[in-house]
């Protein structure tokens, strides 16, 4: 779509009759009606009369290299001064037209296309105040978006109170081992098995280290086996077979004697812990998970 403003009066072809309210530029018979010239921000007949009152854009921006023809308009402007002013407000093509009234029927479209070429300087413009302020504003909006992203993230991330998920559980020594049906005892709230091998114990997390299913106990093979992808683990949590990459995770344990003194704790690798003779209770801390070692 060309930029000729489609005024209600219709796009006037070059040299057409002047719209009412304007003095036609005299002495420039083929001079195209400035209205036909591309004036992107202006509605001819509306802004033009007011343009005489020095529109803000009339002055070429400070420091901007005005196109060669721009400085000319004032002295070279023909009689219709009010017309020239709006023309100068867009310091490009209309200026060119006003300056070269002898140009034979310049096609507004072509002129509209050529303005930058005709009048634009070759050297890059230095940053004007407006441009700079716009950049700063843009940066602040980017900051706003980043901040909003951060707020959204913090809002959406769940938080857990003390003692909710990941609390500490107190188990007795007798809890570790097998029940009457040969199934290892388990704490279903904390989601851990309490296994015992000879006199060593461990609290093993019930979630498989592959993709999060709850593995079960295979009573025939006396191993843990996961129904989702077939990973198998020994009763002490060591990986036997299957796609799980690690041994089973364990929770940190503290062994207390009858008076409440800590007499043993799990080691960093979360291996089976030897029970001292005077052990009374074991505190399993489900907030302190020890990841199983990878088996590669």
């Amino acid at each position: 779509m060309s930029e000729t403003p489609t005024s209600p009066r219709g796009a006037a072809p070059p040299g057409a009759k002047a719209p009412p309210g304007f003095k036609a530029p005299t002495g420039a018979a083929p001079a195209p009606n400035p209205i036909d010239a591309p004036a992107p921000q202006m509605e001819p007949g509306v802004d033009a009369p007011k343009a005489a009152a020095a529109p803000p854009g009339a002055k070429p921006p400070p420091g901007a290299k005005a196109p060669p023809g721009a400085t000319a308009p004032k002295p070279a402007a023909p009689k219709p001064a009010p017309v020239a002013a709006p023309v100068a407000a867009v310091a490009v093509a209309p200026v060119a037209i006003a300056v070269k009234p002898a140009a034979p029927k310049p096609d507004p479209a072509k002129v509209a296309a050529a303005p930058a070429v005709a009048a634009a300087p070759v050297a890059p413009k230095s940053v004007s105040r407006r441009e700079f302020l716009n950049y700063v504003w843009g940066a602040s909006m980017a900051l706003f978006l980043a901040q909003f992203g951060g707020i959204s993230f913090l809002f959406a991330m769940p938080r857990f109170r003390e003692g909710e998920v990941g609390g500490r559980f107190s188990q007795s020594v007798a809890d570790f081992g097998y029940d009457a049906n040969g199934l290892p005892n388990a704490n279903n709230v904390g989601k851990f098995w309490m296994v015992k091998v000879d006199d060593t114990i461990n609290a093993i997390y019930k979630v498989c280290t592959h993709l999060g299913c709850l593995y079960g106990w295979n009573s025939t093979g006396k191993i843990f086996a996961c129904p989702c992808h077939g990973s198998q683990f020994a009763v002490d949590g060591k990986w036997i077979a299957g796609p799980a990459p690690r041994n089973l995770d364990a929770f940190k344990m503290q062994v207390l004697d009858a008076s409440g003194n800590v007499i043993a704790t799990s080691n960093e690798a979360g291996e089976m812990l030897k029970l001292p003779a005077n052990a009374d209770r074991i505190i399993v801390d489900t907030g302190a998970k020890i990841s199983g070692k990878a088996h590669f």
Binding site: P158, K191, N218, T220, C226, C228
Partner: protein, 562 residues
């Protein structure tokens, strides 16, 4: 008002009451149709050629819904080929899902305490409830198929080439949106299948390096899927992804109309894109031709969907979700089988012999911290959609003709075969074809799982309740209960399965040895029976072992229907 009244009175005086009313009605009608008077519409319906000026293009400038549709199509794209109307079908199914979804939302609460009971209520206490749910479920699965075939068609006819690269790109995004819509909806029934399939899926996010645990927490609202997870997934399903979908559909369709629907490849020169240059003799106007076609296709699709949902298709509802028990053979939804297959790839370089593979895995893990699951599932998995996205940008061939694109088409076919292969491996029982992906415990528990699966209806539940003969029945050799043909058939099938597993090892190399079994049926209540399968065998250490599984069966449960 007085002026209008005056004009009205004048008109009545000059032309008579009847004519005035007719004119006013016609005027109103024309406004409603955005430019078509009653006679114009009659002309459309009769199939008359349009008059001059052609009023039928007016709605395309005046009205929004017609403005976003093109005014005409090239006649070469109005037949089934080349588009097969798949893009239209994709959008249609999206709309169907939105509508059926809104109906279902009336009765559904995204809370673990309520969700399952809501599902039961929808199925048993809401007229059309089951139909609506089945249409929504079936529509979702059909939509995934349709959008995939749409992508395939676009690939084959090379309609993604210049200038339509960005259209393809937004299309792949829509494919991902469709998959996520389906996946997030999967959780909502809150039965065992829903909970565990989605747990596995989101665990993949957990396993991603660096950001994994955070993403997992954001998705689930907690380390495990619970109330927070259900609510978040509900919001994804009902707000976020539909919104993204609508936005991208708008962008996608705008581009489609802007460049025009691409012509069949054989009609254009190499590198030519003439879809927009449609001579008047090749134009098929939107109104009435295309509009009618679209309405007919919509009618057929909706009718078929409704008939299928009302007759043979019934979405199952398993037992209530149990965060403490993972059922055997939990699977991802079928459109994610390929992903499940990827995760099961046992080695980073599976083509190497076993010992070398394991060594290479160990090196990769110790040096880079990458396991096969992380490489194939978390890194390569998302790469596949990314690969799809860049297809138009890396394709240097300017020709759209099939014969000129043998390489690309072959690559596409190989890709599709790979996806199918991985999908087969992703099925929990694996398939001998794929040679990997088998998941199974020891033979006895596998027999029990096959006949009495943890979830779903197995062979035992399908036996009519009355034929479950009370008593203890041996399997090897199979006893015969009087007047119970299907029950006896079941016993024989059990015996055959045990026989098969005694002779042939499963992909893990396990065989059943020394196996005997019996089935015990007890009457617990007048309409409840207890069915226990007990298998005795010797394990690999030579010790006698026993495995037993119990199901409770009610007379009315209606398992035979599923």
């Amino acid at each position: 008002m007085a002026i209008i009244g005056k004009r009205l009175v004048d008109q009545v005086r000059s032309t008579g009451l009847k004519a005035t009313v007719a004119q006013r009605l016609d005027d109103g009608f024309t406004r409603l149709t955005s430019g078509l008077s009653w006679n114009d519409v009659r002309g459309v319906l009769r199939g008359d050629p349009p008059g001059k000026p052609n009023n039928r293009v007016k709605p395309h400038t005046e009205a929004f819904w017609f403005h976003i549709r093109p005014t005409f199509y090239h006649e070469a794209v109005t037949t089934l080929y080349p588009t097969f109307r798949l893009g239209y079908m994709s959008a249609l199914f999206f709309a169907i899902e939105i509508i059926t979804g809104i109906f279902l939302m009336i009765f559904y609460t995204p809370s673990p305490e309520r969700a399952y009971q809501n599902m039961l209520d929808i199925l048993t206490n809401v007229p059309f409830g089951q139909l609506m749910r089945d249409m929504h479920r079936l529509g979702a699965e059909v939509m995934v198929v349709v959008v995939t075939i749409h992508m395939w068609r676009t690939f084959l006819t090379a309609s993604y080439k210049k200038p339509r690269q960005f259209t393809w790109f937004t299309g792949v995004i829509l494919l991902i949106v469709t998959m996520f819509l389906s996946f997030s909806g999967y959780l909502l029934p809150w039965d065992q299948l829903a909970l565990w399939a989605v747990t596995i899926g989101t665990s993949m996010a957990d396993a991603a390096p660096l950001v994994g645990p955070q993403v997992n927490l954001l998705l689930r609202g907690a380390p495990d899927i619970g109330a927070g997870g259900l609510l978040r997934f509900y919001l994804f399903h009902v707000v976020l992804f539909p919104l993204i979908g609508v936005i991208f559909v708008a962008v996608h369709y705008y581009k489609v109309v802007r460049y025009g629907i691409s012509l069949p490849p054989e009609m254009e020169g190499v590198g030519e894109d003439s879809a927009r240059k449609v001579g008047p003799d090749k134009r098929v106007n939107f109104m009435p031709d295309i509009l009618t076609n679209e309405l007919v296709y919509a009618a057929i699709a909706i009718a078929l969907l409704t008939i299928a949902s009302g007759t043979f298709y019934n979405a199952a509802l398993e037992t209530h979700s149990n965060p403490l028990v993972t059922p055997n053979h939990t699977v991802a939804p079928w459109y994610f089988y390929w992903l499940q297959g990827l995760i099961k790839i046992p080695h980073i370089l599976p083509v190497l012999p076993e010992a070398l593979s394991t060594q290479f895995d160990s090196i990769m893990f110790n040096v880079l911290g990458i396991t096969p699951k992380i490489l194939w599932g978390i890194i390569i998995g998302p790469v596949i959609p990314l690969l799809l996205m860049v297809v138009p940008y890396i394709d240097p061939n300017p020709s759209r003709r099939y014969s000129d694109r043998k390489v690309m088409i072959t690559l596409g076919v190989i890709f599709e075969v790979a996806i199918l292969y991985l999908s087969l491996a992703g099925i929990p029982t694996g398939v001998p074809v794929t040679r990997f992906g088998f998941v199974g415990g020891d033979p006895a528990s596998e027999i029990a799982q096959e006949f009495m699966p943890d979830e779903g209806v197995g062979k035992v539940k399908r036996v009519p309740w009355d034929q479950l003969a009370v008593g203890t029945w041996q399997i090897v050799p199979p006893d015969e209960a009087p007047n119970a043909p299907e029950f006896n058939h079941l016993l024989r099938e059990l015996q055959q399965d045990m026989d098969h597993r005694t002779r042939e090892a499963d992909p893990n190399g396990k065989k059943l040895s020394g196996g005997t079994a019996n089935v015990r049926v007890k009457l617990i209540q007048p309409d409840v029976k207890e069915f226990t399968l007990t298998i005795s065998f010797t394990d690999d250490k030579g010790q006698p072992q026993q495995y037993s599984k119990t199901n409770y069966l009610h007379r009315n449960s209606g398992y035979e229907k599923e």
